[in-house]
Symmetry: C2
Subunit: 439 residues, 2 copies
């Protein structure tokens, strides 16, 4: 894998990172292109470089993430902002005029008090953060919006991703609206409906003969070879990943500027869980919420549960697996942020748990029947893990608890289509109805 | 059809309307159950009766709608409200504590400035009101939320509807969250995915051997025979229909408390168009926006265009048709509010136009490719009509224009699944990619 884009961007090339000249972007950044972000810092060795389309540390190849110098930020400033993720723009690597650039305006989705589901599970106070109502119906709109901002500021020619579903939808849609060329790579055996849901936005859907890992490798290769391509989850990943922080900000604001006591989050790469935790920590540091303990729980499907396996074994290393689960949007066998998920869940007194595909299906119906939310398999996984955590006593049912729903059921209809259907089929008469036994 | 529920509700039975005793509801309403609503008034003869689960005038069988005595309402009061339709609760037939009842919390969806679509069509300033991001992905969540409030206040036992899609989804989901029994009636030949999308929420999906008209007739019969059933679009229709006003309120607020110059709205029963107009008039009367002229345009699919046909013929009567179009959510052959749509479009200097199924498909792609919004066939119809209105000179491209998208494309994938797909299928190598001709 070529790491091609390690020259400094916002300032002179950093002396400690090798300069590259094969990427056109990063040489003519405007003032304030990344708001209060100050650089990219390695999560492993702490080495810092200038902001640019880079994702791996030039010293140790560890993952880079955004460093900031936050000004004072008040609740009032945030509350006066737009009803989407840009209300938190001061805390994101985006310019102050981000609202002026055509974008999907995602976020500020519902935080619903889940009275029925709480009662069904025996949890006193439960909320569902419902990201299925984002523009392309998953949380991916948040991260893609931040990646798009970076791509625009880097003057990228092409906005791209490897994906099997939600991410492809979000990238293709956001690129269409922004008027930037998109190229989306998918495994060629992807179900037709999922292909349509991306191809409707772009004429550059590329089907690749191989599995998701093959597609991902090809994307990294193209990112290394081609000039001016912004692969959202490859070379602009540090900017992209910051978008997940907005889930944490919103939950705290919607709870009345306080942190929940417990939160259950699905784990694919693990990025979302680590970023929600980061968001909570930032809110504490900025004095926007009271400092208090909270427990973070990770949810996986048993058919792809490398983090849960490591958690239960009490080890720090994640052993990669070959995914075999219906929860395809969580099916990352070698999760990049898995070790950080372990750290956070252990440190906060949470846990990582996994559930079978059968339990995933039950989780989907449990949420639909109790709260009127039709989630995809990832959300079914998270709700089923919530139930399992209660049953095993790992979750304290007297504490305020939030569960995140990251996507919507119309994208994974097959998961439940054999489980639900008409209660009766009748002739169109009142007599037939009263005789049907339905009521 | 039995009109069973004509006794007075909030006060003593109205002397001019026959009392009935076959409906358990309406006898023990709490104070303020319907907010500032004062009664039900016939749109044809002006006869007024007390609030109750009634939909037809006891004098002339004309449609009943809600009458109000509005207090002073300020922009500041509204802006301080929740980020959903309940910010307008003072203007709806709902109690002041409506937020406390578990409901879907729909509305306050995005109003997106459509830079690209505007440029493509030659319209200087165009916005898309995107109701596809509602909880069950259509505007029906708005009307169902108002119907649910009425059903709860009437102590209804069952929350029900006849439907072929969006309405069934919205009713089943809202009922699940509210903890009220739902029964949803659909034609038995409805596509399996649409059945799943309702059955996931309710175990009382009833398939009826017949077309939508047959299902609708059965629903009216049950509404007349059974006690305590709230059929959202039958006996609580006056309350239900008011929910569409929130589309108009939101558009005005999101434009900065001003009315658009032109608005294009899909026409099925015609209720939505008449209610958006009513909302605009209420905002003017309340002094919340400046009084100014605006043009209202109606959009139909040619395969079910009885209102457009009447408009073009210059007549007042709507001749019912047998629908034959892919825009199934607009396929009402005998639209109840068709004559009011004609009135409004003519009086405001607008028009009613229709487009072919081929143009509907083009409309879907036009919106997706330009703005990253994947709409269903109803939205494709509306966008295609917008284009046709520009091409025919009926729409003034220099005036501020809003187009409403009422639903989302995942529910009608078949409409475009033969039109879009992969640009290339390649082996997973960089050489294969560069040779593919995609870039």
């Amino acid at each position: 894998m070529s790491i091609a884009t390690q020259h400094g961007a916002q300032s002179e090339p950093d002396a400690s990172s090798p300069a590259g000249d094969d990427v056109a972007t990063g040489t003519d950044l405007r003032e304030g292109a990344f708001g209060n972000a100050t650089g990219l810092v390695c999560r492993e060795c702490g080495h810092e470089i200038a902001l640019g389309p880079h994702y791996a540390c030039p010293e140790c190849f560890g993952p880079l993430e955004i460093a900031y110098a936050f000004p004072e930020v008040t609740r009032e400033q945030i509350e006066a902002g737009p009803r989407n993720i840009w209300r938190y723009k001061a805390l994101l690597p985006v310019p102050d005029d981000i609202e002026q650039s055509p974008n999907m305006e995602p976020g500020f989705t519902r935080l619903l008090k889940a009275h029925n589901l709480g009662a069904a599970l025996g949890i006193d106070n439960l909320w569902v953060k419902d990201d299925s109502t984002n523009p392309t119906n998953s949380f991916k709109d948040r991260v893609v919006a931040c990646a798009l901002s970076a791509a625009v500021e880097f003057h990228s020619k092409v906005f791209a991703c490897p994906s099997t579903g939600n991410l492809a939808n979000a990238v293709a849609a956001a690129g269409a609206r922004a008027g930037i060329r998109t190229v989306v790579f998918i495994p060629s055996n992807l179900e037709k409906p999922k292909q349509v849901n991306s191809a409707v936005y772009t004429d550059s859907l590329v089907a690749v003969n191989g599995n998701y890992d093959d597609v991902n490798r090809l994307a990294s290769e193209i990112a290394g070879e081609e000039e001016g391509w912004a692969f959202v989850n490859v070379n602009v990943r540090p900017f992209y990943a910051e978008g997940s922080k907005t889930l944490g900000y919103e939950i705290a604001e919607q709870l009345g500027w306080r942190l929940p006591d417990q939160i259950v989050i699905p784990v694919a790469s693990g990025s979302q869980l680590t970023k929600v935790h980061k968001a909570f920590q930032e809110l504490i540091t900025l004095g926007l919420v009271e400092d208090k303990p909270y427990r973070v729980f990770g949810a996986q499907a048993t058919g792809c549960s490398p983090v849960s396996v490591a958690y239960k074994a009490g080890v720090d290393a994640i052993r990669p697996v070959k995914p075999d689960t219906i929860a395809k949007s969580l099916a990352i066998g070698n999760p990049a942020d898995g070790i950080y998920v372990l750290d956070i869940c252990r440190q906060t007194g949470g846990a990582v748990e996994d559930v079978s595909d059968e339990e995933v299906r039950e989780g989907i119906l449990l949420l639909a029947r109790n709260e009127g939310i039709f989630t995809e398999t990832a959300g079914g996984t998270t709700v089923a893990v919530l139930r399992k955590l209660v049953e095993s006593g790992q979750l304290d049912t007297t504490l305020d608890t939030v569960v995140i729903n990251t996507g919507m059921g119309l994208k994974t209809l097959d998961a439940v289509s054999d489980r639900v259907g008409a209660a009766a089929t009748i002739e169109p008469s009142y007599a037939a109805f009263t005789g049907s036994g339905v009521v």
